[in-house]
Structures are given as structure tokens and as C-alpha cells.
């Protein structure tokens, strides 16, 4: 009886260790797998030329990723500018001003927003945002636009980022000690002054991290952006013109991937680029968060 229990304990433990091991080496395997596939391209061209060149002619083996990287950056930037203030102020409202009941009501709202698949956001973007940009916003600024633009991509993306950033900000603000807030109120600060001088300044590393992780999330978002951003290779930044973000490049061209030489390793290089950038941003800002948590 005892023997059987010991054996089953050993087997279970072995199963657990194997699982952990698989998970821990997963980032290395992903990186290595993508690198192997991208290697032919990296051998062909120096890294600087791949990232810095803007000629994209797959048939002539000219692969310059600059337009795609810039496209991703533009869309991400717009999304960040639109979502950051909303996230910051709703997090302040939910953790400082409102009663606990409001947070209880808002939690399912945030959860559902986070849970909606990106295709649904894309459909919403096509139905609502794209016509809105082409019919109202573009004439307002005195230009014409098909609607499939950086701005439309940024708007859709900003809505998708809100629940992600907001959840992290709420967590950050909840860790700020109550005594600190009480002290600042007791010396005569108004509620907003208390928020401004203690909550925001004490939570600043956390706020920065939440924003950073939000940017990483926006940078890698694929389907929704791809459906509304137009997907045209361009270097110049214009709000009402289309762009071609890096994830959209991968998702759009997998069909022709194996028919043009080097094209598959170019797309895998794009995936590797995305993986490395996003993993690095994540590692840096997560480290920030762990550091601040430790100090408490």
C-alpha cells in the first residue's frame, strides 16, 4: 500500500516537472524554431539592411522591412495616444473615487471587452469605424480617405488595448498603501490632489509598465488591425492613408509563402522580429513590476 503510494507520488512528480520544463523552455524553442526558418534570409542580407531598407520586392529577393515596422509603430502610437488617458482616468475613478459597487459592476464589462475575439473587433471596425473615418473625419480635416487607414486601425486597436491596460492599472493602484493616502488627505489635500501627488507619483513605475505592456500588446495585434488598416506598403506617415503593419504582412501572405523563393524565410524573419521585440518589452516591464512588488 505504502509502496504504491510512493510510486504514484514519484510518477506524478515526474509529470509535474516535465510540464514545468516544457513551459520554461518554450520561449527558447519558439525563438530557435523561428530563427532556423529565418536563417537563409539573415545569411543572404545583413541585419541592418533588412530592418533599415524600404524596398519590398519579393520576386527580386529585395526584402526591406522598414515600411512594415513603421506601419506597426504608427498604428500602435495612435492606439496608445487614444487609450492611455481613458485607461488612466478610469483606473483612478474605479480605485479612488467610486464605491466598491461600481468596480463590481465594471468588472464584467472589462472582462467581456478583453474576451471579445479580435475578429469581432475587426468586423466592428469595418461596420462602424471605417465609414466614420471616410464619411466624417476625413472631410472634417479637408481630405478624402477610403476609411481603411492608420487612424481606423488605431481607433480599433485602442479599444482592444483598454481592458488590458486598465486591469494592470487597477492592480497597480490597489497596491498603494492606504496610510499614504490618509496622510495626504489629513494635511488638507483635496481628493484629486491626493491622487495627483501620492497615487500617481507612487504608482508611476507601475503606470509606466502597464503602458509599456499595452504597447507591446498593440504591436502584435493582428486580425482586427489587418481588417481595417488597408495593407499597402508605405513609408510616409499620413493619418488617413493606409499602412501595412508587420503582423498583417505575415497573416496576409502565408498563401504565397512557399511559391516564391526566400519568401517563407522572410515571413518567418518578420515573426522572429515581432517575437523578439515583444518578448523584450515584456521582460523589461514585467521586471519593473516585480521589483516594485518586492519593495512592499
Amino acid at each position: 500500500m505504502l509502496y504504491r503510494r510512493i510510486v504514484s507520488d514519484k510518477i506524478t512528480e515526474w509529470w509535474m516537472v516535465t510540464s514545468i520544463f516544457i513551459i520554461v523552455i518554450l520561449p527558447i524553442i519558439i525563438g530557435f524554431g523561428l530563427f532556423t526558418k529565418a536563417a537563409p534570409l539573415i545569411e543572404l542580407k545583413p541585419l541592418g539592411e533588412l530592418v533599415g531598407s524600404s524596398t519590398w520586392l519579393p520576386h527580386k529577393k529585395e526584402f526591406g522591412f522598414l515600411p512594415f515596422i513603421l506601419g506597426s509603430l504608427y498604428v500602435t502610437l495612435i492606439a496608445f495616444l487614444l487609450s492611455a488617458p481613458i485607461c488612466l482616468f478610469s483606473a483612478i475613478y474605479l480605485t479612488q473615487f467610486s464605491s466598491k459597487r461600481v468596480l463590481r459592476i465594471m468588472h464584467p464589462v472589462i472582462d467581456v471587452l478583453a474576451g471579445l475575439p479580435s475578429v469581432i473587433y475587426g468586423v466592428w471596425g469595418i461596420v462602424v469605424i471605417v465609414p466614420f473615418v471616410s464619411d466624417y473625419l476625413a472631410p472634417l480635416f479637408g481630405t478624402t480617405s477610403s476609411g481603411y487607414s492608420i487612424l481606423a486601425g488605431g481607433i480599433v486597436l485602442s479599444v482592444m488595448c483598454i481592458p488590458y491596460i486598465l486591469n494592470m492599472l487597477i492592480e497597480v493602484f490597489n497596491t498603494i498603501p492606504l496610510g499614504l493616502k490618509e496622510a495626504s488627505l489629513s494635511i488638507g489635500a483635496t481628493f484629486w490632489e491626493m491622487v495627483k501627488h501620492t497615487v500617481i507619483s507612487k504608482g508611476f513605475p507601475g503606470i509606466l509598465s502597464a503602458f509599456g505592456l499595452g504597447i507591446a500588446k498593440a504591436f502584435g495585434e493582428t486580425m482586427a488591425v489587418m481588417m481595417v488598416v488597408g495593407n499597402m506598403v508605405q513609408v510616409k506617415f499620413h493619418l488617413f492613408d493606409s499602412a501595412y503593419p508587420l503582423p498583417a504582412l505575415i497573416a496576409n501572405n502565408y498563401g504565397e509563402m512557399l511559391s516564391i523563393p526566400m519568401y517563407d524565410s522572410a515571413l518567418m524573419f518578420a515573426a522572429l522580429l515581432l517575437f523578439v521585440i515583444i518578448l523584450l518589452i515584456n521582460l523589461v516591464f514585467r521586471y519593473f513590476i516585480y521589483r516594485t512588488k518586492k519593495h512592499e
Binding site: R5, S8, D9, V17, I20, I23, V24, L26, P27, I30, G33, L34, K37, I86, F89, S90, Y93, F97, S98, M106, P108, V109, D111, V112, L113, G115, L116, P117, S118, V119, I120, V123, W124, V127, V128, V159, T190, F191, W192, E193, K217, F219, G220, T222, M223, M227, P247, I250, A251, Y254, M268, A271, L274, I278, L279, I281, N282, L283, R286, Y290
Partner: protein, 284 residues
């Protein structure tokens, strides 16, 4: 001076309330627009029929193949993620509880993995698929989605497990149980609501994700029977049919979007309901 303070206070209070309640408005707006657009073409035929000949020119048929395909992929991936993820989460909280440094490093890696976008998993799945000599198939889709949701399962379950009091560990060990008996018979039961939440969160993510199955699961009008057959998925049906120039086909994409939204809302509501229900009987 005082007046300025009061105005500033009022202004920011109003602004932050506005920002918060605008989220409700945005969510309602999205869901209502999807439903308004989708319910026009939604019919029982849409749900219970596979595409017939001429479907992509506006002919008869539905998206049953994609609904079944999505369910297969999501159920398969969630099963794999459970088999790998649950023991991993238990191990982090029980066997590694004395090694805070290792515990935190593993959580750190998992959090970073959670942030990796699904298109990267899709590309990696494709590379893996070529390496193993597989074709775009149900199995390849399941493996890719499983990789995507493993971090979600582990971290969600782990968050709940880490709140379980240490006394419970000590009590069950002092009664003579082995560590794995404690893990599955005591701690797992205590963390059961967390397990349900993790499962449903991962399931919802798996059913709605398009970028990861784009390369790996393929596309077909038939309902897959074997693991090595390609399969359609609901998000990809929406994506592909929305690109069609024929209005009837586009209408059906909106209907499929409404369908997917209903499924996601159902999963998210039941996650809430179930985790509340199961946590009633808990100690803490």
C-alpha cells in the same frame, strides 16, 4: 486659490467618471452593432448546415463545419493545456513554495509568454508543422492553440492557488499524505473555482483566436473526422467571407460574427457564474 482647487477637483472627478462609463457605452455599442448587422442573415440553416455548392456565390448552406471545427480545436487545445498546465501550476505552488526565487522566475517567464501575440504562435506552429512533416490539419491547429493558451491556464490557476493558506498544506502533510496526494486531493479541490475560470478563459481564447490557426488548421467545407484533416474555424469564416465581393456572403459573415459573439458572451457569463457557485463551498 480655493476656488481653483474646487474646480480642478470637480473637473477631474467628472472626467474620470466619464472615462469609466464610456467603457460601458463602447461595449454596448460594439455588441449592439454586431447583433444588428448579424441577426438579419442569422437563421437555423446558418447554424445547422454545412456549405453547399455555390455557397460562396450566395447559395444554400451554413457554417456548421466551422462551428464544429472551432469546438474541436478549442476542446482539444484546452485538454492539452490542462494536462500540461494544471500539474505545472500545482508544482509551482507546492513543491517550489520554499524556493521563492525559482517560483518568481517561472511566473515571470509565463507572464512574458502570455504577452507573445498569437500570430507568432501561428508562425511557430507552421514551422513546427513543416519540421514534423505534417499538413495543415486539426492536430496542427490544436497543438498551436494549446501552446497559446498554456500560459493563460497556468497563470490564472496559479493566481488562485497562491491565495490558499499554507496551513492547509501543513495540515494535509501532517496527516501523512504524500505531496502529490496533497496536490490533487486537497489543494486542487480548494482551487477548483480557479480551475474552472482558467479553463473557460482558455476555451474562449481558443475559440476566438484566428491568427494562430490561419496557417495551421487550413480551411475546408467538410466537418473534420480525423485529426489529420484540415478544418474551418469560425473566426476564419468571418474573415474570409467578409472579403467576398458578393453581398449575401458578406451578410453571412456578419451572422457568423453575431454567432461567435453569442458563444463568447455565454462562456464569459458562465465562467462568472460557475466560479461563484463553486467558491461558495470553500473554506476561505
Amino acid at each position: 486659490m480655493n476656488k481653483r482647487k474646487i474646480i480642478e477637483e470637480k473637473l477631474f472627478r467628472a472626467f474620470s467618471a466619464f472615462a469609466t462609463y464610456s467603457l460601458v457605452v463602447i461595449l454596448a455599442f460594439i455588441i449592439i452593432m454586431i447583433f444588428v448587422k448579424g441577426f438579419g442573415a442569422l437563421s437555423w440553416q446558418m447554424v445547422f448546415d454545412t456549405p453547399k455548392g455555390g455557397y460562396y456565390y450566395g447559395g444554400e448552406g451554413g457554417v456548421l463545419n466551422a462551428i464544429i471545427g472551432s469546438l474541436y480545436i478549442s476542446v482539444g487545445a484546452t485538454s492539452i493545456a490542462t494536462i500540461v498546465g494544471i500539474p505545472a501550476a500545482l508544482y509551482i505552488n507546492i513543491h517550489l513554495s520554499r524556493y521563492k526565487q525559482i517560483q518568481n522566475t517561472i511566473r515571470y517567464i509565463l507572464d512574458a509568454l502570455w504577452g507573445v501575440p498569437s500570430i507568432v504562435y501561428g508562425a511557430f506552429g507552421f514551422a513546427l508543422m513543416l519540421f514534423l512533416g505534417m499538413n495543415a490539419s486539426l492536430l496542427a491547429g490544436i497543438i498551436t492553440v494549446a501552446l497559446l493558451i498554456i500560459p493563460i491556464v497556468v497563470r490564472t490557476f496559479d493566481e488562485v492557488l497562491s491565495t490558499i493558506p499554507k496551513g492547509l498544506h501543513e495540515a494535509s502533510l501532517s496527516l501523512g499524505s504524500t505531496r502529490s496526494e496533497m496536490a490533487f486531493k486537497v489543494i486542487f479541490k480548494q482551487g477548483f473555482p480557479g480551475f474552472i475560470t482558467a479553463l473557460l478563459l482558455a476555451f474562449g481564447r481558443g475559440i476566438g483566436d484566428a491568427a494562430s490557426v490561419l496557417f495551421t488548421a487550413g480551411y475546408t467545407d467538410l466537418i473534420p473526422i480525423h485529426l489529420d484533416e484540415p478544418t474551418a474555424t469560425l473566426p476564419l469564416v468571418i474573415f474570409f467571407q467578409l472579403g467576398s465581393p458578393i453581398p449575401e456572403v458578406r451578410e453571412r459573415a456578419f451572422a457568423a460574427a453575431a454567432l461567435l459573439t453569442i458563444i463568447i458572451l455565454f462562456i464569459s457569463l458562465s465562467a462568472r457564474f460557475l466560479s461563484k457557485r463553486f467558491s461558495k463551498t470553500n473554506l476561505n
